[in-house]
Symmetry: C2
Subunit: 234 residues, 2 copies
Amino acid sequence: MTTTGPGRPRKQQPSRPGATARDEILDAAAELFTTQGYAPTSTRSIAEAVGIRQSSLYHHFSTKDDILEVLLAGTVAGGLAFARRVCAEVAGGPDGGGGEGSSGDSPTAAARLHAVALYDGTQLCNARWNLGVLYNLPEARSARFQSFMADRNELRGLYRRLGAELPANGWAGTSQNGDLAFRLVESLVNLRADGLSTPDSPLQAADAGIVLCGLAGSLAAVRAGSAALVASIG
Amino acid sequence: MTTTGPGRPRKQQPSRPGATARDEILDAAAELFTTQGYAPTSTRSIAEAVGIRQSSLYHHFSTKDDILEVLLAGTVAGGLAFARRVCAEVAGGPDGGGGEGSSGDSPTAAARLHAVALYDGTQLCNARWNLGVLYNLPEARSARFQSFMADRNELRGLYRRLGAELPANGWAGTSQNGDLAFRLVESLVNLRADGLSTPDSPLQAADAGIVLCGLAGSLAAVRAGSAALVASIG
């Protein structure tokens, strides 16, 4: 990662990802929020990191909160869209949606939960900045960001719905299935912050979610169904 | 929780827990850091929340960082002391320390891991303020707080050590045992921030840690051994 000093000539060296100034602003803000903190970062320092004037930044975002809102939404958008697709396909038919129209067998509920966890966790681990570290900010918990929290709650609800479709697991019924998988995936944020995440971490989290459902013995089949789902929807 | 306005006469109404002004400062700071955020909270606002002068606060803490350091240390101190005791007792003898001197049978490695997770998770859930929300603050990850991070890493290491003593679990060997339990316990912080933790949550996290070790079938015995350990050490 090259360091981009303030005031560098933007037009000549667009070193941040993104085709537009808006994307560059989001990337610079994400870097500063996750490395310096949200409150200590000013819109001025964001503009400087991009190499634009503060007034140009205000052309794209009225406030720092508006930037955070877009960034937080981005942390759940991919996982939520995927989970909605997975659940919508299932709703198409009784007991798993049947095989019509899809390639091969209908994925089991366990494969669907695994796929959602794997896809969601991969997004969290592969995003350029570890924005999940901002989830517990008191600021992010305020009403200002209720739209993000609503998305995150919907995602948690889809995990729960998929978990509730599994057979009782013998140690805690089905009540915890989805929630524990959701928590294991979100714990990837901490793992990454601790410098301990590896390319295998999302798969391990998804696997662990399935083991907690009492399905350790079916893990190979669940993984295969999950991989097929990710390939067809993701 | 009663609200304590700034400037209330401290001597007459010590409404915050703690016998000393230092304890009251820590409590007020914990409330403000977890509800308003760390960066936005000034030492002046902490002093006002206690009902003392800012100069009196400086008699106890030179900087806001010094206050955060004490608060962060407090989130791991109990769990770490307990885990050290659990591991030290085991080191007293081969293959689990034997039964001499202790009351009854030597606890299994699984019971020890369960007890550490249960004790640690209970501390996180029962603390007056959910200070774990500050773990991912970029500020808390700076060298200034390396002593806290060293304690947290030692605690994670003890989870890992206990997890490594268990038999291979059939889905991921033993490499993940301790780490997943540690992550499930820390995820109680998020659960609490989401308003979803219950009195059963620490036990559920400890149970889940054991299930991930492939020991769902022994959960009742593991719980019993764990409860005995917590009663004798905790």
